[in-house]
Symmetry: C2
Subunit: 342 residues, 2 copies
């Protein structure tokens, strides 16, 4: 049996020293990482810096009864990298604030950081600083990500033009159905702690929930295809809410075709099993971390054969509002249910 | 009677819109502030970027029963600006993560942001982004601050040389005694809710605790005096712990003279009343947010008449260890009690 070390037994400085040993910096722009009052970065000449921050709060964003700490660490980084990617930027550094209950062990915190380290490696990001402290209640993870983009090349939500094509990466709705599966298994477990979780048939949707990937690959591929989106946003709160944000910022309406919304087979199967409308899951489920972006009609030919980009509609004049077009052609004004944090 | 709005009544997006209206950006390097997936910054040519993050957690770092929200907002910004200053950098932007219990009202969150806005104004910093979410337990504030410094001019903890003079700004121990006063008044109030708090005689120490200032002024003045510290750290955990950090990073020892440690009269009076050794309060109390730095002996003449900089000792060879020299000349090896977060 391995022995576990409670956090209070080693204290903050010793914990930081333990975590620091596993962190290595690789970015050219990292001058100084962990260990001083602040990290020092030297952005490359001609680059702008983007910065974004996200909080993950226990009991709100994750449930430790079914969320492995390593996946949680990975996700905390990925969701911030996703925001950087949505600016058309390349992530470079993160800083991490962690408030952990003293019931946590050093080994648990190390497992969380191992997930962050794996994500940093996957996305080519340096962990350059942070803050660790105690929490009277649950675990809180605050990640701030920095990225770089050539000056003037950042893509905002506001650049969409009427007639632009509306595209989405990957497929939607999976993360929400993964959450339904995990919550059902939790109830089964609570009723009968001897029960084994039945997750084998839900691998895809569970992974979409527990370990989403930021679509940095799409950013790189669009660059290779010579396509710069006119506007972009990442899908964290559900497609409906993100389309509404993008249209509000761009001063446009949109027509979104429900039959074009990309859904993976395991997502459709899980939706059927849970008696949920898959389109609703995609529109309002959230946490898919795919990219929603617009491109000029003239660029359509460049992306139409991309296996992981789907055209789901187009922008319109603002006066046309944001409409979901059902299979029969009927237009329904879109309601952003989104995910309300309070 | 004014009506208060519970957070859940307006939701996250409406809250962000309300907060956003009061935020204006002024920094030349802020290209895009709140409202997109990330903020966009354009650091000036030849500048490096510093980044630091700090969490403030209810029940650990602050007690809402005696900490006004406006002061708390101010402090959350100031403690991060203090870290930027400790790198010899000028703060430029912050992003703010906020997890608030749903018992909070919109007005309470606005009061917190008003404090942050005042601090941003005082330090010339733009609030460029953030994340707001719910919390099952207490309030958590995660601030990340960015700053700029001419390439190569950042001051690290590690640059101290044996024989360098050890200096501190302002005075120490006040914040800790302010906390003692506030906690005593809280106990009085809990025992008798009719009792009025008696804080009039403790204005100085209470303010040191509730609304510390980052010593950005010292950074500017040192520049005007033509002095670049060889090493620097801000005093958040107590002088003892910070001297130990600085010496460990610089590979030196130090001699610290207890009679030179600057203490304000109200701090000395409060210490006497609480039967506390004032030197212990300065060494281990923490939260003073003054700057501890080293300069070459040759620069001593430049700072010796500065009313707010005190020479408290000097660095030595590492083999001499870190010693506190008592009034009688007796050397006592310093113990970093610091503040243990767990």
């Amino acid at each position: 049996m391995s022995e576990l070390t409670p956090l209070h037994a080693i204290g903050e400085f010793a914990l930081i020293n333990r975590l620091k040993k596993k962190v290595h910096t690789a970015q050219a722009s990292t001058v100084l990482g962990i260990g001083d009052d602040a990290a020092i970065l030297a952005p490359a000449a001609g680059q702008e810096v983007v910065v974004t921050t996200d909080l993950l709060v226990e009991g709100i964003h994750f449930d430790l009864s079914f969320c492995p700490l390593r996946h949680l660490g990975y996700k905390a980084v990925a969701v911030n990298v996703s925001d950087v990617a949505a600016m058309n930027a390349t992530p470079t550094q993160i800083v991490v604030g962690l408030a952990a209950p003293s019931r946590f062990t050093v080994e648990a915190v190390e497992e969380l950081y191992e997930g962050m380290r794996l994500a940093c490696e996957a996305y080519g990001v340096d962990l350059v600083g942070g803050d660790t402290t105690s929490s009277r209640a649950g675990l809180v993870i605050a990640v701030t990500a920095l990225g770089q983009v050539a000056a003037g090349q950042a893509v905002r939500r506001s650049g969409g033009q009427p007639t632009d094509i509306l595209c989405v990466s990957g497929d939607l709705g999976g993360a929400y159905l993964g959450l339904q599966v995990l919550e059902r298994e939790k109830q089964v477990f609570l009723a009968d702690p001897e029960a084994q979780p039945e997750l084998d048939n839900y691998e895809y949707v569970v992974q979409r929930q527990l370990r989403p990937e930021a679509r940095l690959d799409i950013i790189h591929e669009l660059r290779e295809l010579g396509v710069t989106p006119t506007s972009m946003i990442d899908i964290s709160d559900g497609l409906a809410s993100e389309v509404m944000h993008l249209c509000a910022a761009s001063g446009t309406g949109a027509r979104l075709f429900s039959e074009f919304i990309p859904m993976a087979n395991p997502t459709l199967e899980a939706a059927a099993e849970f008696n949920l409308d898959p389109i609703t899951c995609a529109l309002n489920g959230g946490e898919d971390y795919e990219l929603l972006f617009t491109i000029p009609v003239a660029d359509h030919a460049k992306i139409k054969n991309h296996p992981d980009i789907t055209v789901i509609g187009h922008l319109t004049e603002q006066s046309d509002a944001v409409n979901l077009i059902a299979k029969g052609g009927q237009a329904v004004p879109l309601q952003a249910q989104g995910w309300t944090a309070f």
